[in-house]
Subunit: 249 residues, 2 copies
DNA sequence: TGTACATCAGTGAACGCGCGTTCACTGATGTAC
DNA sequence: TGTACATCAGTGAACGCGCGTTCACTGATGTAC
């Protein structure tokens, strides 16, 4: 399955000349340098002038490649989503399909590893919103849901294998779950699944716990803690148990 | 119990004159206006000049009241922590002490209500770190742990009432819990309790889920969802079940 | 109650900085004949 | 293969803006005698 959408080449008939190759290289350089600035100064302080300066370019030159500061932010966001989705999928796909527990754990660990390696990229997509900036939904929707799509597929496999955890333990009951989920199950993403409201709500709880575990570690929400690895493994197991029943049951 | 520390008045001998009263009023105004700016433009864009302008003061005048931009940020953070702690404690203290479930729920709901009412203040204390700024630990430690102190007391009451949830359900086992907790239990906060590593780890899992539920809603991490209230109630119940066993058990 | 002095609030000008974005331009690269 | 023209990358100057912080200052408020 393709993760990245196919590159839209306006004239794919001819091999690219010097100019076209150079353009791609400079575009990549811009994103690379911009990510460095993101890491050192945060999204709010991202500056086109500073990126141009680092590239040895005069400040106005960057407008050949980037429409505006906001557009550069959007590219960074989209890029981060794809990077995360690619890392998570790679880890997930390395696990045998019938080992449901290991698939969940692989997703969780890959998410955490990516976030810890690139905390500012994580903050960009899952942290506080950037002031005076709103990501255009049509560009972020697909990359932004790539990980969710993977989780939904796993959840449906758990259902098929009759390994779903007991929702009652979480206090999830049908009427409330239906309120939670609403018309969400009509989305095309769920078309090939047979998930119901209760199961999807379990999945949301598990995903919230997993994302909360990573968020709290990256943003140091819990204050200083002795052993981040051990805590994450506990929370990972707890999140897994929200959706997958232990083999003994 | 006092939540706010006693005001340190340098000369409490005399009643305050015009000057002293005015100073307190201006200081409060500064915080009020700064919070407005925080809400509209975010912490990174908080500007002393803009605050002074809104107060009808010339830009340098504000240095009579605030040492620097960073110090204003610190004050906002400390203030937000106390505000949150006060709101949570008030909700908690309205519940009879022996209704453990209701106490947990009251804390969770108060946290969420506060965060939704003041999302930017929430972002300031639990969101992505502000670039080029580090809060001084000696000023944030006490207010930053006030909610945790409350949760620890509740957790110890749950233990005393023999209502602790089964840690096995979360996959929490003693050796791993000890690695998670490390020397944390030696902190003065736990001196009057009899909590062990496993129970504290359960508490951490529950708190992570609760905080994750609020964070994911305030930062829209899960994308657009039909019914935030219903989802939160589910997650609140799930977090409660991490530490408190249902009455039937 | 009145005077002399110390303290403090707020002013206005200035320093040096960085920002996003526009515009007319020079030279190099690519394309059509 | 060579020439004429179109396209594009990058330059340099400029616009108007806002920022944090310092400094010498005026005038009002408070205090000691």
């Amino acid at each position: 399955m393709e993760l990245h959408p196919p590159a839209t080449d306006t004239d794919a008939t001819r091999p690219p000349g010097k100019r076209a190759r150079n353009r791609l290289a400079v575009e990549a350089e811009i994103l690379r340098v911009a990510r460095e600035h993101l890491a050192s100064d945060g999204a709010a302080a991202l500056s086109l002038r500073a990126v141009a300066r680092d590239l040895g370019m005069v400040s106005s030159g960057i407008y050949r490649y980037v429409e505006s500061r906001d557009e550069l932010l959007t590219r960074l966001i989209v890029d981060s989503y794809w990077s995360l989705a690619t890392a998570v999928r790679a880890a997930h796909d390395a696990i045998p399909a019938d080992d449901l527990d290991a698939r969940w754990d692989a997703i969780g660990r890959a998410l955490r590893a990516w976030a810890l390696a690139r905390p500012h990229d994580f903050a960009l997509i899952y942290g506080s919103p950037v002031p005076d900036y709103e990501a255009p939904a049509e560009r972020t929707e697909e990359p932004g849901t790539a990980v969710i799509v993977l989780l939904v597929a796993l959840l449906d496999d758990v259902r098929r294998a009759a390994r779903l955890a007991d929702p009652d333990r979480l206090g999830i009951v049908a009427p409330r779950a239906e309120a939670v989920v609403g018309t969400l199950l009509d989305a095309p993403m769920f078309a090939s699944t047979r998930l119901d409201a209760v199961t999807l709500t379990q999945g949301l709880a598990a995903w919230t716990l997993l994302l909360g575990a990573v968020t709290s570690e990256v943003f140091a929400q819990l204050g200083p803690l002795p052993d981040g690895n051990a805590l994450f493994e506990c929370l990972l197991a707890a999140s897994r148990r929200c959706v997958i029943a232990p083999v003994g049951d």
